[in-house]
Subunit: 172 residues, 2 copies
């Protein structure tokens, strides 16, 4: 092998260093690296496919979240929370998406709690056009490669972890 | 619930739209969203923990990859491949890491194929110092929350998917 594994954040620089550390054993490490690699490569592949429609994967996510919100709009601060982005990073992204005509930033009359992002007609049409391809990619590269039993086992394993992590995020 | 799910890229804007599309069913969608959410929240949590050491998660990854390379160095193009980044983005990151004294960019004498990134002494010391905390986080938030059976089942499910996606990337 000429190149190392894609990513390896939990690997000790030396097993002798820091003797009290609960280093991952070979089996755990193999699993952890594979988990990271799948996340990263899947993101990369789905991003590449969305790019053919002129969308970044974060754009797509925002279109979906807004499309599922009442009146196709959401307060910017809530949108930042929902998409796990910093407010400043979201702000830059919304500016780009506004330029592309996908969303619109507006004050909400009678609500002083700040700006809303609205999905535009063009944003909605774009989502409807792109979603079928995207869902085919999600199936082809991931979901359809799991048996029913594997899918259920993964969900059972991951759901409590998601809950744990949501709790940590809430504590900010 | 006041806020929507964190992320939902495979959700159809309308089940009636595009009738030929193989939309995810409720079970698949629940799994897919949970998978995305765990990836994102875990990245967020581990990033936050690394930030207390002044490192971004991408910095940590680069330190690990270089530490596992012969002579603690790697050609920039190979490093971009290994970390799945564009060359220009990696270049910016290496510039920041050079400023922090973690890596050094150097020509390789007798090798015209371009620049290398080297791990510095300070980069190596930083990795040795940070890795124990990071591995504890990986255990606490993820690995130790899976039973042995779950860990093996996840690995068995994910390994062929990683291989599929690696193949696609190679054709990139």
């Amino acid at each position: 092998m000429d190149t190392p594994d894609t990513e390896a954040p939990a690997v000790p620089p030396s097993r002798d260093a820091e003797p009290g550390t609960p280093w991952l054993d070979a089996r755990e490490q193999r699993f952890w690296r594979t988990h990271l690699e799948v996340g990263k490569l899947l993101d990369h592949q789905l991003s590449r496919e969305l790019q053919t429609h002129g969308l970044a994967i974060n754009d797509y996510e925002i279109l979906v979240v807004l499309s599922e919100s009442p009146d196709h709009r959401m307060r910017m601060t809530d949108l930042a929370t929902a998409t796990l982005q910093s407010k400043s990073r979201l702000s830059h992204q919304i500016t780009r998406m506004e330029t592309a005509g996908l969303v619109l930033r507006q004050d909400c009359p009678g609500d002083r709690r700040g700006l809303y992002a609205h999905l535009t007609e063009h944003g909605w049409d774009t989502l409807r056009k792109v979603a079928p391809d995207h869902v085919r990619g999600v199936r082809e590269h991931f979901v359809d490669r799991l048996t029913d039993e594997q899918l259920d086992a993964l969900y059972t394993a991951l759901a409590p972890i998601a809950e744990h992590l949501r709790g940590l995020r809430g504590r900010g």
